[in-house]
Symmetry: C2
Subunit: 776 residues, 2 copies
């Protein structure tokens, strides 16, 4: 399993191949693989995240089949939420399908005992395959080679495959026991997965399947509160030995056991194939799991179909970089993590902030999806983008409940959203100290820009795809009913004769209660402009639906007139002379900060200064004015001023806590720096974003992949280094490649046509169009 | 297993034996057994509580060995707390040692399938044995007799025994498959028990034990936050068949399997013996569990030792009633539930409100223990009483932290207490509705009488036992440091020239913020009087320790003088003329209530009226003034007035929600009614208390035994019907027996001597002393 094509460590700058192994924590790579050459228990949980596999339906962390102390084996399925105290709901960790215990003459294979003579774990991004190669010597001296391989089928989302090849090694010098060895394999479905200490599953039933070719067992469980039923079925095949089988069907823990004898050099292959369904997919998951299992071809056939499915996906979504193999791999790694998180199969689910790779943020869905992740899908996998946006349509009722409970009209999307769209941001943190008061979490009430962010994503999806029917049937209602919310939320200040938005949190969460946040106000203004345009388009293109929707939303001509007034009178704090936008009213009066004076540091500025002090300083957790300028790059941002981006960049970038503030920052800064022509800074920020999880930059990779950062990496390459502008006619590139990049290739789907970009460094940095591709 | 001595249903009035089976929900009884003659899935969880067994170290609910949908198999061990959100900490449900799966030719025994031809479950109170007899016909027609028996050894707290006798029945008419049948038994330790959806355990390790006489497995787990390690080991013996054995040691789920053949009429006996230790008992629980298992005698020998231990316990703690077999059984049932909850082995634990029988109140410890449960132990098992009170000594540091955090001095015991004594009452209820605000729970701040209740229990323990050394080393510090708290908590009101306690909750929790609650104020006054007396006694008896303790607590002569002033000036609202005590200032001004107007009802008055309205009415959740008069019955309660008890009884009893308010009410009302000579009412209240769980009177027996009510039942018999007064010289009885009772016998230990009471109805109800018993 050793890949001889391995050429370097993931590090900055890209290393010479011969420097490949400076430390045990390093990962190795080729263009399509990430390899962990040594096992370091300290990195256990972060690497479980890094080696997550998935297929858009589920994600499974890279936990070991045989287990390890403190491991977090986790399989998450989109939409399988269940109630929990304080945070209301979370994605429930699903039964563990990985479990495979191997014992030799009664001695159990486990990496926390005995000796690891060889170890290598590799993720093949090209084909979504995780493999591990181990040579292990047991405490009594028995030595084994084990080759593990697993995949979550991209060809059939309900199929999972796992193979282990066992070879006893003849080490007669140290060997305590003569061959043949009795090898026992226990392959389980563990119905008791914990989700950060919660046990979401009731055991409903389990049973045995008699099959011609082997034995099978199934497990049926149900979430405690949401009553989502889930069933898994598993079969086991043993090749290369004459194996006996037995079933242990303990309550909630279905196990297939197989025993056989093996001699030195004999390789026995154990193939575990699992099917999984929930009551969100089919009416009778327990039947569906058994039926599918009964009709499955062999492991190898399943694997081939899976590989082919990946071929098709990369065909459209790959980015090729020449001259910088580090960048090549890390970009593909980030795209891989996005691709395994999104699917067009279920329009009632979306991608959580930590994808399906960990329990951070409990599977809740944020603006991360629409603003950071979605452009990649919109422009390379539009069917998935449409599905993700349709989730917001299906949660409009929850958004309406939130608006009503908050005293507003229309639909107010929830800062953290799950199955229903109701607000699931925890009301407060619950201290474990019994004498400490709970700390209020204000995002749920104040970080209102989300509704405009979603409208923004809807509009851009429509712009990119020209999907008029979707806009008519889904998108228009999202944009218009959230506009109804803004109409009720905007405050008229008679003295200043302007509309304002007070008491908000902007994109920058270091400032918890501000008035007239430029980002929010301009996004709202844009939202109302867009709402007017969308309604006019609908009236023109689909007059019947326009009337029906207006009636349904109680949207009148007077309302639309009022929107026009609001657009004209909405206050956005900025200095027309200097071009400097003020993040919010009074920001420039706050005490200034020089972040370099706090270096080196290993935690956020909020952790350094405390919540209150940070609130009082000109320090940002993430881009706010710059985020606005980034999102409005193809629109007219305020103020209309020469060099407005450069002016604001120079002011805000140095005041942003880009290392330990928000992981949303580096990719956006990379894009902007590239657009501003600062290739060196752009590359630095880009690599910081791209390595967020591969290097565990922020120390919290164990909680899951930073999905927004991964989406931002694609944007930094395409919109930053590629300099793509989405013109009405077509996307136009104005490349600003990093110095080492000799070539950058990617495809974009624009209004149904594929545009292939093949960019090379251009001293003049002149814009040019793509070759239209024949594929679509 | 059918007990031919069964004579009636638990019901009121005691039934003729021939009326025994009016409904499937009824329990049958003899003097020493409770029998469930039919299985009713509707009653599943309540009956799991009813059939709890235990040994003072752990409690195990009466869940079926083979499982049942929605069952709550639970084993709780004193002191094994772990963190949870909102309620801070809870007793963790421990690995399930009951699990025993039986399959016949691949068909699994389960009561939710096939046909139950005979069913009987019986708890033998005399010897702490739970048995179940089932004749079951499988869906394919195979019929089995199964006889289960289990016990938690009272002889050795770390040993658990479970036996199942299986007999295939020849029913050739319906039989689908010929004999012999292949019977498979899976006996597991399930390391994934849930605690209301929380999974508190990390799986550390598991392994196999090779023994001469059979096979064994062990399991090692650890609580996630408190890091308490627990280990169980189990062995399985099969008698009556030639059985094969196999081990499946899945992650967290250790299973011993045994397979054998059986023909019709052949009885095979399966004996499962389990050992259990935690890191609170020994340093290496995993070793201790294996070592003990290795040296255990056979099941039958263990059972004999267990029976003998119960003989010794009942020798002192039994109550014999003649003329009323219903009362006889139900009293013993309540005493049994207390006896299995208390132990003298661990002085750092105490009895939770729901004992170890369920997850209600999450294993937190309330005043229920000291005021309701403790007298039974103090007077019949003083070593257990001492241990329970010593728990409060060991939690003084937590009580001091609570005082400090609340701005007071000394030690302020926590309304809900667990491992450390810190306050673990939830700060607020957490609504599952994301738009609902949390509701503040005020007991944690305001229900301060607990510190005086504990002092009261300490004083009475000392009075009853004369245990001077314990008072010197433990009790004095409790009484004095809580007195220091009162000194800082009392408020001097200069205008009225009196001390007051404002903003409290009294014993009656329907009134959430009151001033000068008579119960609290008089208990505090008594507490300060007692503190003065205890310190004087200490100075006289142990001057060196008195000085050291005063120094440690910074208790000065001035403080003790101030206590005297406080005693003299503490305000207790009462009418010296009428003898009526006002529950708190202004209670008599609240709107009055006639509870009969709300009958019939099936919920509490707070549920009927709402929290705010209940606060405004003269309706009580539980006795408050009457509780004070009950506790002060051998002391001088205020006001010194003829018939003060009758006057207050007549006023407060009809205003108390005794059916659906607090379960603490009926037993106390029974005692008082008996003392007042109202035998009929006393008996009615007494039976209501005694049947709280056997009849699931309040609909929440599934959450666990009402421990305080069980303790109150003993008090109602001894202090109410027996009319025991604890005079300085000896306990004196003034019996007020219910009409049907022809004899009442019990023993009390008073200052080291056993006093046996043998009471018969006495028209004159004159007091008489006990015969001194020779046993001690």
């Amino acid at each position: 399993m050793l890949d001889l094509n391995k050429i370097g460590e993931i590090n900055l700058p890209a290393l010479d191949p011969h420097d490949a192994l400076p430390g045990s924590h390093a990962l190795l790579y080729t263009d399509w693989t990430v390899t962990e050459p040594q096992f370091d228990p300290e990195q256990l949980c972060a690497r479980e995240t890094v080696f997550t596999i998935g297929n858009g339906y589920l994600g499974t962390r890279g936990s070991f089949e045989e287990g390890f102390p403190q491991a977090l084996p986790t399989t998450l399925i989109h939409g399988v939420y269940d109630d929990v105290p304080v945070i209301y709901t979370e994605l429930a960790n699903c039964p563990d399908w990985l479990s495979l215990m191997i014992s030799v003459n009664g001695e159990r294979f486990r990496l926390d005992r005995g000796e690891i003579l060889h170890y290598e774990r590799q993720l093949d991004l090209r084909h979504g395959l995780l493999s591990r190669s181990v040579r292990w010597r047991s405490p009594t001296g028995k030595t084994l080679d084990l080759e593990f391989q697993r995949f979550a089928s991209l060809d059939d989302q309900h199929v999972l495959g796992l193979r282990c090849q066992i070879t006893p090694i003849d080490c007669s010098g140290t060997l305590a026991e003569p061959f043949p060895w009795k090898i026992e394999v226990q392959s389980s479905l563990n119905g008791y997965p914990d989700t950060q200490g919660f046990d979401h599953w009731e055991q409903i039933d389990r049973g045995q399947i008699e099959q011609g070719t082997g034995q099978g067992v199934w497990l049926q469980v149900r979430t405690r509160s949401s009553h989502i039923e889930l069933s898994m079925a598993v079969k086991l095949a043993v090749m290369g030995a004459d194996a006996s089988f037995q079933v242990t069907n303990a309550h909630g823990y279905s196990t297939l056991m197989s025993a056989f004898s093996a001699i030195a050099g004999q390789t026995i292959s154990i193939e575990k194939v699992v099917t999984v369904f929930t009551s969100q997919d089919v009416e009778m998951p327990v039947q569906a799991a058994q039926d599918k299992l009964a009709n499955l071809p062999a492991y190898g056939v399943l694997l081939d179909a899976h590989r082919q499915a990946w071929d098709a996906v990369w065909q459209h979504s790959d980015i090729e970089i020449e001259g910088d193999r580090t960048a090549q791999l890390v970009v593909r790694y980030n795209l891989f993590q996005l691709l395994i998180s999104g699917s067009s199969h279920d329009v009632r689910v979306s991608i959580p902030a930590k994808t399906l790779s960990g329990l951070g943020y409990r599977g809740h869905i944020f603006w991360d999806t629409e603003i950071f992740i979605l452009p990649f899908f919109t422009l390379t996998q539009p069917a998935i983008a449409r599905s993700l946006l349709t989730y917001r349509y299906h949660t409009l009722e929850g958004a309406r409940r939130k608006a009503t409970h908050s005293g507003y009209q229309g639909a107010m999307f929830s800062w953290e959203s799950a199955a229903t769209g109701d607000e699931v941001t925890p009301r407060s943190s619950m201290p474990t100290d019994p004498y400490a008061e709970a700390v209020r979490i204000w995002c749920r009430d104040r970080e209102i820009h989300l509704s405009a962010d979603i409208a923004y994503a809807v509009w851009h999806y429509w712009q990119a795809t020209g999907d008029d029917h979707w806009l008519r049937d889904y998108g228009a209602e999202i944009i218009l009913d959230t506009a109804m919310f803004w109409m009720s939320r905007l405050e008229w200040h008679a003295q200043q004769e302007r509309y304002e938005l007070c008491g908000v949190i902007g994109a920058d969460e270091y400032h918890e209660q501000v008035n007239n946040n430029a980002f929010t106000n301009r996004m709202v203004q844009w939202h109302l402009e867009t709402a007017v345009a969308v309604y006019e388009w609908l009236q023109h293109a689909f007059p019947y639906q326009a009337t029906a929707l207006a009636k349904q939303l109680q949207l009148t001509a007077e309302h639309r007139l009022l929107w026009q007034t609001m657009i004209a009178k909405l206050y956005i704090p900025h200095d027309a002379k200097t071009g400097l936008i003020e993040q919010f009213e009074g920001f420039f009066q706050l005490q200034d900060i020089d972040l370099s004076k706090y270096e080196p540091r290993d935690r956020s500025m909020q952790a350094v200064l405390g919540i209150d002090e940070t609130n009082q300083r000109q320090v940002l957790k993430q881009p706010d004015v710059l985020m606005l300028l980034y999102l409005m790059r193809d629109t007219q941002a305020l103020p209309a001023h020469d060099n407005v981006l450069q002016k604001n960049w120079d002011y805000y970038a140095p005041r942003t806590d880009s290392t330990y503030g928000s992981s949303l920052t580096p990719a956006i800064h990379a894009s902007l720096a590239a657009n501003l022509g600062d290739a060196a800074d752009a590359y630095k920020q880009f690599m910081q974003a791209a390595l967020t999880d591969l290097k565990d930059n922020r120390g919290n990779t164990r909680d899951g992949i930073h999905g927004a950062s991964a989406g931002g990496v694609w944007q930094a390459v395409v919109f930053g280094f590629g300099g793509i502008q989405l013109k009405d006619s077509a996307p136009i590139a104005t490349p600003h490649l990093p110095p080492s990049w000799t070539r950058l290739k990617f495809k974009l789907n624009w209004r149904g046509t594929w545009h292939s970009f093949d960019l090379v460094p251009s001293p003049a940095q002149k814009p040019f169009s793509a070759c239209r591709s024949s594929c679509n």
